[in-house]
């Protein structure tokens, strides 16, 4: 029985924040909606276009290709980073100075700004001075990210794996550390194999952090911009042009405000949907865990 009297007056304290958000987010978003239904050429020259921009954006084959590319990219990096992250977390030392040292080493890529990651890999993969590019060329591999779309893809995936697997590994590591020793003792008494311990103790206990890792990585990679932009500029051709970059080209490069507003809204809706699924899943899991606590 809940005898608490709900008092919603505390919400008034949120008002200043609401005003701030109104000016920083809500009103600009409303402006975007206004632009998406008009062709604005200047302060006094604007024409109402209705849903025309949305129709042309949804049927734009370049954008559809970028969307598919974006989804495949996100799925590929998830398929690599999640198992790899779990694997790394499993072999990380559990205590002592080794544990701290490995943690620091593993976290380093996460501290590097995104543009810098792009630059590092850009230089790393150059055929003339880059270690990887030069090395592969000396080994006789015809590797060139500015000419070969496959090479560009492999490099971008590799870069993202290098940059973000540590996040998955750290989440899994913290999940593993929270498993009480008693579980392992019980497993040893049962003479459970390493695989059985992983399958029936560690993996189930990791479910929560894995959901967080999957959704964080999905959303991050879905909005990826700086790294591929610096590394390949979206090329060769448009082989590595992802959604954010298409949007920037349209809005900043070509100043097509109407179409890019429509496209931003579609992009925003997709991200909103994914974030909502993310939020709901996590809240749902917490509710299942504490059925009487209330989330």
């Amino acid at each position: 029985m809940n005898n608490k009297v709900p008092n919603n007056r505390a919400w008034l304290l949120v008002l200043p924040m609401l005003v701030l958000v109104a000016f920083s987010a809500i009103i600009p978003l409303m402006t975007v909606v206004n632009y998406s239904v008009q062709d604005v050429l200047g302060p006094n020259a604007r024409f109402f276009t209705g849903t025309e921009w949305f129709e042309s954006m949804l049927n734009d084959s370049a954008l559809q290709a970028a969307f598919l590319r974006q989804i495949s990219f996100s799925l590929i990096i998830l398929a690599i980073q999640i198992p790899l992250g779990i694997g790394i977390a499993l072999i990380m030392p559990k205590r002592g100075w080794q544990a701290s040292a490995v943690l620091i080493l593993i976290t380093l890529p996460l501290l590097i700004p995104w543009n810098v990651v792009g630059s590092i890999w850009q230089i790393f993969t150059r055929g003339d001075i880059g270690l990887m590019g030069w090395g592969l060329r000396e080994l006789g591999v015809d590797y060139n990210i500015t000419r070969n779309a496959g090479d560009a893809w492999v490099t971008i995936v590799l870069m993202d794996v290098w940059h973000w697997t540590p996040l998955v590994a750290m989440l899994c590591y913290s999940g593993l550390r929270s498993i009480p020793e008693a579980y392992y003792q019980a497993a040893r008494i049962d003479r459970a194999s390493k695989w059985a311990v992983f399958r029936y103790i560690q993996l189930p206990k990791l479910t929560n952090v894995l959901v967080i890792a999957v959704l964080l990585r999905f959303m991050h990679s879905f909005m990826i911009y700086a790294e591929p932009f610096v590394l390949t500029g979206g090329g060769p051709g448009s082989a590595t042009t992802f959604l954010s970059q298409s949007l920037t080209t349209m809005a900043v490069g070509q100043q097509d405000l109407g179409p890019s507003a429509a496209f931003s809204l579609i992009y925003f809706l997709v991200i909103l949907l994914v974030s909502w699924v993310f939020y709901t899943t996590i809240m749902h899991m917490q509710k299942d865990k504490h059925p009487h606590g209330g989330a």
Binding site: P6, I27, M30, T31, V33, N34, Y35, V37, Q38, V40, P43, R46, F48, G50, T51, F54, E55, M57, L58, N59, I266, L269, L272, L273, W276, T280, H284
Partner: protein, 90 residues
């Protein structure tokens, strides 16, 4: 306000959203929502169902505009019916 390049349709759109939020607030004060489980896989409150309804309405509209030659009013009608179904049985 002309810098925001207002048009009548977007003004109506945002006013209806604002009206819905205000209406939901009044409804909540008059009879607070009880979280329950309908045909959706998760238990939801009234506000959750409104959000799900509006978000799916956005995608219904995008689908109709982008991939069919149907009128946008059909999308609006379908969304409205879906929203009502969701609010009642979701």
């Amino acid at each position: 306000m002309s810098w925001m390049v207002w048009t009548m349709p977007t003004a109506i759109f945002f006013s209806s959203i604002a009206a819905m939020l205000a209406g939901m607030t009044i409804w909540e004060i008059l009879s607070p929502t009880i979280e329950r489980k309908g045909f959706l896989p998760i238990s939801t409150t009234r506000g959750d169902r409104l959000f799900i309804g509006l978000l799916s309405a956005a995608f219904i509209h995008l689908g109709v505009i982008g991939f069919t030659s149907l009128s946008i009013w059909i999308a609006l009608a379908v969304s409205a019916i879906w929203l009502l179904v969701l609010m009642r049985w979701g």
